[in-house]
């Protein structure tokens, strides 16, 4: 499994100011919890879809946190991978309403292209002059972990030398099923390839991803056992597993299968979106509490399952300010 070192973290979340608090959930975000004018100074942000604003702001924060290392990387060696499920759903609702009620001419031009959720990552690439590559991942609920995995693989294949990996979501619009408790906010991680046997002193730690597919209604079979075996093959068993699961058949099957796999397993209910498992991942990396070895696992009703193995290092010093420009 390919490993990523995490050099910087940034979050834009209702109810959490810093990565260490990213597991804290605010039942309903306080109105005005995010102010684009203070979070993103300058021109060209006010009209962006809000999930794009969250992503840009979280990335600025992560790059500041990562210090000088990313600055040195030429534009053609930078990459961006962003996971999302619902970033553009509210906009699409509005656009479709406009078409249904008045016709396509009523669509607002400046946000029009963002019906394609991949534009969110592309806007990030424009912001930080990323010429290496940009990729969006979008599997239900596992998209954030998939982004880390795709990023790690791309680095291993030599497609870039440093990455921003992000996950961003906006609340589902009211008429969508599952709107209640849907994810909102963004996290961003600055990542570089892990060097074999070397602990990077600037890193929060490292992460490795493994995924599997459990068709809805199927019994957890070899696929999950194989993934777990590969994940825990080298190194001590994790003391703790964070499971972010819904109460679908797949979610319950994974929860049952997890029993006894590690010291303790905590299960957090998952809402719509790919952000909540990423919040848990970021918080574990930022705090390193409960020991250095961790697993976060998540799954979707549709069958996607993903595991993140985290190895954290003590991370005591705030990094110096820096930027990618």
């Amino acid at each position: 499994m390919i490993s990523l070192d995490v050099l910087g973290l940034g979050v834009v979340l209702p109810g959490a100011d810093k990565p260490a608090d990213a597991r804290t959930v605010t039942a309903a975000p306080a109105p005005g919890w995010f102010d684009v004018v203070t979070a993103l100074t300058g021109r060209g942000y006010r009209r962006l879809p809000t999930a794009c604003q969250y992503l840009l702001a979280a990335t600025r924060s992560a790059l500041d946190d990562a210090g000088d290392a990313p600055d040195a990387v030429p534009a053609e060696r930078r990459g961006v991978v962003v996971g999302t499920n619902n970033a553009g759903m509210a906009l699409m609702e509005e656009q479709d309403r406009s078409i249904l009620e008045e016709g396509a001419d009523a669509i607002t031009p400046i946000t029009a292209p963002y019906f394609a959720m991949s534009l969110f990552a592309s806007r990030l690439a424009v912001e930080h002059t990323v010429h290496g590559f940009t990729l969006t991942t979008n599997s239900p609920r596992t998209a954030g972990f998939d982004a880390l995995q795709a990023g790690a693989r791309a680095l291993a294949r030599g497609r870039a030398d440093v990455l921003v990996v992000g996950a961003t979501e906006d609340e589902l619009p009211r008429p969508e099923p599952g709107a209640d408790g849907s994810d909102i906010g963004a996290v961003a991680l600055v990542c570089a390839p892990s060097a074999e046997g070397i602990n990077n002193p600037s890193a929060y730690g490292s992460c490795r991803i493994r995924n599997a597919f459990l068709a809805p209604g199927a019994a957890p079979a070899d696929a999950l056992d194989d993934a777990w075996a590969a994940l825990t093959a080298d190194g001590p068993l994790p003391r703790h597993v964070d499971a972010v699961l819904d109460d679908s058949a797949t979610g319950r099957a994974v929860a049952d299968w997890l029993a006894g796999k590690a010291g303790t397993v905590s299960i957090t209910p998952a809402g719509a979106g790919c952000l909540s498992p990423m919040r848990h991942l970021v918080a574990r990396l930022a705090t390193g509490d409960d020991g250095p070895e961790h697993v976060v696992v998540t799954a979707a009703a549709e069958g996607n399952v993903a595991f993140a193995r985290l190895t954290t290092l003590p991370h005591n010093h705030p990094q110096q300010h820096g930027s990618w420009q």
Binding site: R43, G44, R46, R47, T108, P109, I110, A112, P113
Partner: protein
């Protein structure tokens, strides 16, 4: 479609509309600032200005018509001619 009882166009209001569409302070949208060269207006922002104008003045502007315009004064010319009855 708004009922227009006067054809005199308030340039300052027009300036405010364009500035708002471009997220710029009004002072930067001078009478002759060039949209593309001075104000970094791209094709999407140009469309955005058109939408704002159409809503405020109840006119219809074709994309091809707007493409010819580069300054606030030229925009005023187009809007005035539309209000005077040009389709």
């Amino acid at each position: 479609m708004s009922e227009n009882t006067t054809t005199a166009l308030d340039l300052d209001e027009l300036r405010a509309i364009v500035a708002d569409a471009l997220e710029l302070p009004k002072e930067e949208v001078t009478d002759e600032a060039h949209f593309a060269n001075d104000l970094q207006v791209d094709s999407l922002m140009a469309l955005e200005i058109v939408v704002h104008l159409e809503k405020r003045y109840g006119i219809k502007v074709a994309e091809s018509e707007f493409k010819e315009l580069s300054t606030l004064l030229q925009v005023r010319g187009l809007v005035e001619s539309k209000l005077a009855g040009g389709k």
